[in-house]
């Protein structure tokens, strides 16, 4: 390498620099995201106080330019957390059961069918999952079980189930990777002590892969928090402080989508509020992703 770099030709150096520029462009994207969010968010906080934004329990942007509205982000955080938790309640058990099945029980042929099927599920456009939630999950699943007068047309439960189905493949595939990287010797030792497959799975493989499962859940939660279309379509657009899953709520992402469909003009309070919401979303998801990546790195070190 050192000899090669010394005798490199000019043309080659130009190419390497161009390739370097491509790699650095990704850093520029991050800088761009942070700059765009910060500039307009700061503009927003100049007119509307940061304290009110972080502690206010009413999100009611004013009409038109949005002056005189109330901009408390807590109802949106509340809605976002409801969808995130609901999605985990749906996606975590199904995802982990799927992962155990794929990693410990399924024969190669069943695996060969199931894994692509999960990839297809992960690849369904979110707007179509939203349609499914609105046209099937609410009217044909939730309402027959819990009653028409109890379940609103737009409700957090349908959004949670829809997002839960979207994150199921993420939890299943990362957890399965973690389980498959548990050394065979651990399983063999447990079998040698007379354990059954169930005992090996639950008492050896799952505990050994626990950090990987945790990482997958955090990553999945971050995806659920960032999901936009399914919750905009199925969970409604009424920001409120509630824990009732059968009523309409609004998430951070849905609020952004709704404001944009309403075409807020550039420079208005309403427009700047978009970027304050985007910044909030960016910070939450970034923190989750960093925690998840850290856990993944740690569990890789254990067995490699």
């Amino acid at each position: 390498m050192s000899i090669a770099t010394r005798t490199v030709r000019t043309g080659e150096r130009v190419i390497v620099n161009a390739l370097f520029a491509c790699a650095v462009l990704s850093v520029a994207v991050t800088v761009g995201i942070v700059a765009v969010l910060l500039v307009d968010a700061v503009e927003f906080f100049r007119e509307s106080s940061l304290v009110e934004f972080l502690t206010g329990t009413v999100w009611a942007p004013g009409q038109g330019g949005g002056e005189g509205g109330q901009y408390g982000v807590l109802p949106l955080i509340n809605g976002t957390l409801m969808i995130g938790l609901g999605a985990i309640v749906v996606g975590l058990p199904l995802g982990v059961l799927t992962a155990i099945y794929l990693s410990e029980y399924a024969n190669p042929r069943v695996r060969g069918v199931l894994k692509p099927t999960l990839e297809i599920l992960a690849g369904i456009p979110t707007v179509i999952v939203g349609y499914f939630a609105l046209q099937f999950i609410t009217p044909s699943l939730l309402r027959p079980i819990f009653g028409d007068d109890r379940v609103f047309v737009f409700n957090a439960a349908a959004g949670s189930i829809a997002v839960g189905l979207m994150i199921l493949p993420i939890i299943a595939s990362i957890s399965e990777d973690a389980m498959r990287s548990v050394p065979a010797s651990l399983r063999e030792a447990a079998y040698g002590l007379g354990s059954t497959k169930r005992q090996v799975s639950l008492r050896v493989v799952v505990p050994a892969a626990l950090s990987g499962i945790a990482a997958s859940v955090i990553l999945a939660f971050s995806r659920a928090v960032g999901e936009t279309m399914a919750v905009t379509i199925a969970a409604g657009n009424s920001p409120k402080m509630t824990f009732d899953y059968f009523t309409s709520i609004q998430t951070l992402t849905a609020s952004i989508a709704q404001t944009v469909s309403g075409e807020a003009a550039a420079g208005t309070v309403r427009y700047n509020a978009l970027f304050a919401l985007g910044l909030t979303l960016f910070v939450i998801t970034l923190a989750m992703n960093l925690i998840s990546a850290r856990i993944v790195r740690r569990f890789r070190q254990v067995y490699s």
Binding site: I15, L121, G123, T126, L165, S261, L281
Partner: protein, 304 residues
């Protein structure tokens, strides 16, 4: 251990108790296998139900006159509404997105795999790409709105939409390209060096061609995700109601997911049917792209 105690262990009563315990164990094991299978199959059933719902709702509308549906513009009358502008818009967006992000993504991957020194800058770029992959798509929309649409004055145009989708797909393509470049064995590189090739000649003539099938597969999968995205395009403000096809990069375009979102949000049942019909077209498009990707992977990937 004394003789008497070992006799006691073998006493018939103990044996029988052992036998019943293992009988219970067999039952629990069987129940657990069933639970795993049920948990796994729920995801498959959900996917089947989703596809069935879409096809059941939209098939009649699509098949009533498929040509008219695909060659008509939108309309206030659901029976006359078609997807022409959205379908063509999605095709243009996809082609331009590929044009923008493929060279940059592959360039960044080549740099990181073949040229990057192991230093802090490289580590930072890598961590940055990993984080970009976790940024919610709606935040990319805000980036597109703030930088491409407003700051660079592109407005809600084909160019702004394609650039936004390209930036969003970039981390996915970089990761896919890096994996296929890494899969090329070092023997190939060393052989080329031994024949006097420079680093770039080695990459250009040996490594890249060998890594191309995997890279193309990853790119197509990233594009199929981009083409199903709604939120970023919605945030940039791409129009839904539009009665012309783009002649210029600066012309506004629509996209299939946007149209599906718009029709899904309308109260009339006839628009829901149209949304389902458009969803069938979008799913068929994605299925075709995935089929091409799988074909490329199986047909051209070199196993070392």
């Amino acid at each position: 251990m004394t003789a008497s105690s070992s006799v006691e262990v073998l006493a018939p009563s103990r044996l029988r108790r052992g036998a019943t315990r293992s009988g219970l164990k067999i039952l629990t094991d069987a129940a657990f296998s069933v639970l795993l299978f049920v948990g796994t199959i729920v995801g498959v059933i959900a996917l089947a139900t989703l596809i069935w719902t879409i096809v059941d709702d939209g098939w009649a509308r699509l098949m009533a006159d498929p040509v008219a549906f695909m060659t008509s513009y939108v309309s206030r009358l659901p029976a006359r509404a078609g997807i022409k502008a959205a379908l063509v818009g999605s095709a243009y967006l996809m082609a331009l997105t590929a044009l923008f992000c493929f060279p940059v993504g592959v360039g960044a991957a080549i740099y990181l795999e073949e040229f990057a020194p192991r230093n802090r800058v490289t580590n930072f770029v890598e961590a940055n790409i990993a984080n970009l992959a976790g940024v919610p798509s709606v935040v990319y929309g805000l980036l597109g709105l703030g930088i491409f649409a407003r700051f660079l004055r592109m407005g809600p145009s084909l160019l702004a939409g394609a650039l936004t989708l390209a930036v969003m797909s970039l981390p996915v393509i970089i990761v896919a390209a890096r994996e296929s470049i890494r899969a090329v064995p070092d023997g190939i590189r060393l052989g080329a060096f031994a024949l006097g090739a420079t680093r770039w000649q080695t990459v250009r003539r040996q490594v890249l061609p060998a890594a191309m099938p995997g890279t193309l597969t990853g790119t197509i999968l990233a594009l199929s995700r981009a083409i199903g995205e709604t939120a970023p395009l919605l945030v940039i403000g791409l129009p839904i109601v539009i009665f012309s096809l783009p002649n210029d990069l600066r012309d506004p375009v629509s996209a299939l997911p946007l149209l599906i979102f718009d029709w899904t949000s309308r109260p009339q049942a006839a628009f829901a049917e149209a949304a389902a019909a458009a969803s069938i077209v979008l799913l068929a498009l994605l299925l075709a792209m995935n089929a091409v990707a799988i074909f490329l992977r199986n047909r051209y990937t070199i196993r070392w």
